[in-house]
Symmetry: C2
Subunit: 220 residues, 2 copies
């Protein structure tokens, strides 16, 4: 589906026509519009207007309104999956891995709140329509985290009696709810709080999962 991806070949193209990548322009505009009005409430013309292109051009690059959202979601989610896999392959403690993941997600929000809002509100939450379409992609993230927890249990760092899938969901859910808190303006969003939020999630979840034996005094 996604057409050209790595085509932003810097401005030094053979024929420096590098005006602007309209496709990208549309995607970026869509993020803003979806975040502001919601996917269902906005019209395709809103996206076109926001991007400053003609209505029809949206359909030149995307087969449907849905595909615009699909593209945004997959782009971002795959970056995250890539990151999680990378973290997982490193020889560090679970606690560090989970901290890295929490950091990544929180920083993703900090870097582009609109995009994260769209992904959480419009995709992750939508059990019907989109959620169902991407359920396997979403699941992959949970599975990766679950895998880390299983490994930690085998190593005796985490309590074995806690079902890994449940722990993974709880961990991810805690983070997502913090983002939801920021999205809904229920939590203060100063820089300081972002950092403490990362710490809180890891501290809380790990604190409850770790065995007494593994009292690694690596507490900040």
């Amino acid at each position: 589906m996604s057409v050209a991806r790595g085509d932003s070949r810097s401005p030094i193209g053979p024929r420096g026509k590098a005006s602007t990548d309209k496709r990208r322009l549309i995607l970026d505009a869509a993020v803003r519009v979806f975040a502001r009005q919601g996917f269902h409430a906005c019209r395709v013309s809103d996206i076109a207007d926001e991007a400053g292109v003609a209505y029809g051009l949206v359909y030149h690059y995307f087969a449907s309104k849905d595909e615009v959202l699909d593209t945004l979601f997959l782009e971002r989610w795959n970056v995250m999956l890539e990151f999680i896999r990378e973290v997982d392959s490193e020889p560090i403690a679970v606690r560090e891995k989970l901290r890295a993941i929490a950091s990544f997600i929180v920083d993703s929000y900090r870097h582009d709140p609109d995009l994260m809002k769209v992904i959480i509100v419009e995709v992750t939450r939508a059990a019907n329509s989109f959620g169902n379409t991407h359920i396997d992609t979403i699941r992959e993230a949970y599975d990766l985290i679950g895998g880390m927890i299983i490994k930690a249990q085998e190593d005796g760092v985490f309590k074995p009696e806690i079902e890994s899938r449940f722990a993974a969901m709880a961990f991810y859910g805690a983070i997502e709810q913090l983002l939801t808190g920021w999205i809904f303006d229920l939590l203060p969003d100063e820089d300081e709080y972002f950092e403490r939020a990362k710490w809180l999630v890891v501290e809380t979840v790990c604190g409850g999962l770790e065995t007494k034996a593994s009292e690694q005094a690596s507490v900040t």
Copy 2:
């Protein structure tokens, strides 16, 4: 399924018109339809059909499609708020309070998965539509939980360095994500797992929040 609520005032009503409560019929049908197709994707006629009443009757009892969802949400959320307040007023340990809340939410799902699905998917996380409308009602639940945590911190049971609002969000988020896991069929939903899920959330969150000093061996 549960028919009349509190309005089947027995035969003693002045105007004993208490035939079948069509309003209730419509609400219950709406839950099923919203859960199956999603609020946006379904038509008002779907609700009427599911309820076995004429299209127009929906508008006799409700001003709009929105109001049907509003009603469902408020009905249920207020029951939960009531429960939380009640729990809060009891002289028991935080751990017990949180366990009671987790139990209540999980059991709510077990008792009526469709309704909880609708509330979570269509309201609680819908930042652009209903979520925004009901933000204050939703927030009240978070605030109540936050209050419990503050109190526990003052009593020296929970670590004081963790911002209560953040902890409350993390706690609620963990539970909600477990429900999401069941909704999306990502987690096994046998009876045994519901019980363990309650235990997991409380154990995990409290484990991380409690101070070393409060090592109350009340672990199951």
